[in-house]
Amino acid sequence: MATAESRGARLGRLERSALTGVLVREAVNYSSYWKSSTFSSTVEPTIYLLAFGFGFGSLVSRIGGYDYVDFVGTGTVATAVLFSSAFPAMFGTFVKYQFQRTYDAILAAPVDTEELVTAEALWIATRAGAYGCVPMLVAMAFGLDPSWGMLAVPLIGWIAGFGWACFGISIAGYAKSFENFNYVVSAVLTPLFLLAGSFFPLDNFPQWAQVLANLNPLHHCVVLVRHAVFGWNGWRDLARVGALAVFGLLVWRVAIHAMTRKLID
């Protein structure tokens, strides 16, 4: 009898209850560290915004047809998204499997690696979508005019944040030690962050660099946020959303692969 009852339907992949379980864990944990996390995710991009806004802003008042403060204020949304997704994903994932062994505990429950990675990325993406709005709100305090398109900014941040979260999880999955992250930060994240068009337009870059920028998901995020705030550019923006979605889906699968290798012997 017990057997008949217990066999039942085979549990599927990406079950809602498994995702919820992992998300609840993150949400409950967040209640214990939200202050420090909110502090770093908001103060950092704000400093960039103020430094560039007042630094460059005193030299150039308008750039690419925008007030410079508006230009940087919208551009640093992508920076905030990156800082609150790729970095916590890299370090948090590493700490959770290596030091806290949290993932060992979760995988002993009815949760598969695919569900674990997906839920972690969803959580980080949601946070990144929210924290991404901070520079825009700060820019509003400095005179950025409100617009309806701003309501799309958290969503753009969420899509980009999901990809960067998966990117960070993948790096943590393949990294042998904490020190490995230095290579990724220096060789990958810093160039992508500077060549995104957050602080200066890429129009004056050589042609090849502009083509390359289209492979930078952060660049699409920057442009989409600006267009959301100042006016959409039709199909081209839709293509950029598509590019972010493809990036997210690809690194999602990579992250699952990396973590399965790491967590399952």
């Binding site: 379980g21 609840v24 864990r25 009815p110």
Partner: protein
């Protein structure tokens, strides 16, 4: 439902590169019993535990847990298992109650039953009045109890304990034994790995002794003792040279011996009349069997 197997392993092999951690292991855990997996460090106990939750995937062999085939149906099996890991992996910045709440979700306890399940777990772990304490403020014993309660919050049919009392002082160990014993009395099936012989002897209905990845003996502790070490053991103390002499003498008489560090134990002396070495007679125990079967040398 007696006779049903909660765990059934046949010919299970798990290799890590050139090392074979589990080597053609057969293991039966009948429902409602407590089985002890006994072996020295490195015998493959922890790997076996990881295989049972599909956190390690076997290279060969058949694995069934609660009637589910592993690794394909592992998630169903895990839904009805509770795992107490060797290393504490509680969320240390959360409170006792929050830790239980998280696992009530992970183990899919329905909303209407969640509250009651958490209360029951708090009572079991004797942590009702520490429910709001952060885990990093708890003593080692309390953390262990919480780790166990967390694994049992959903009333699993099968509990897997990996070295449940390793590194704890005797008082805490006894407290945990009482907890595990109560669980056993309730009818939960238990598989427990340990290298503490006393733990296995006290709690396990049957013991499986592992060495180098495979089972070297299995059965109720008392049967194993009788079979491998007889009723009585002669314990002879003396300087090393004397011990070597005694060892040779007993070996020549066809007796089995084992070293204890300070003495030599001559096993199964019950029937041997005329064996004239002076020493202390004592009942044979599981430790005699353990050392005899898993070897005296530490690899």
């Amino acid at each position: 439902m007696s006779g049903e197997l909660a765990i059934r392993l046949r010919g299970v092999v798990k290799r890590y590169g050139s090392i074979t951690a589990v080597d053609h292991l057969d293991l039966d855990v009948p429902e409602g019993t407590c089985v002890g997996l006994l072996g020295p460090n490195g015998a493959g106990k922890s790997t076996t535990m990881r295989l049972l939750t599909a956190q390690a995937i076997a290279d060969e062999g058949e694995l069934e847990v609660l009637g589910f085939k592993l690794p394909e149906e592992s998630k169903q099996a895990r839904a009805q298992c509770g795992v107490v890991p060797q290393l504490d992996n509680l969320d240390t910045t959360l409170t006792v109650e929050q830790n239980l709440l998280v696992f009530a979700h992970l183990y899919r306890i329905s909303r209407s039953e969640r509250r009651a399940a958490i209360e029951r777990a708090l009572v079991m772990a004797k942590l009702v009045d520490r429910r709001d304490s952060r885990v990093d403020k708890l003593s080692g014993g309390m953390r262990r109890r919480l780790l166990i309660a967390r694994a049992l919050v959903h009333r699993p049919r099968l509990a897997l304990f990996d070295e449940p009392t390793v590194g704890l002082d005797p008082q805490v160990r006894q407290e945990l034994w009482a907890l595990i014993d109560a669980l056993r009395t309730e009818g939960t099936t238990i598989l427990m790995s340990t290298h503490y012989i006393e733990e296995a002897q006290r709690l396990a209905d049957t013991v499986l002794i592992m060495s180098h990845g495979s089972a070297v003996a299995a059965g109720p502790p008392s049967d194993l003792v009788l079979e491998h070490a007889g009723h009585e053991v002669l314990e002879v103390y003396g300087p090393p040279a004397r011990l070597a002499e005694v060892e040779a003498e007993a070996g020549a008489a066809g007796m089995r011996t084992r070293r204890t560090g300070t003495s030599i134990s001559i096993l199964g002396v019950d029937g041997s009349n005329g064996f004239s070495i002076d020493g202390e007679r004592r009942p044979a125990n599981l430790e005699d069997v353990f050392v005899l079967l898993t070897g005296e040398e530490i690899a």
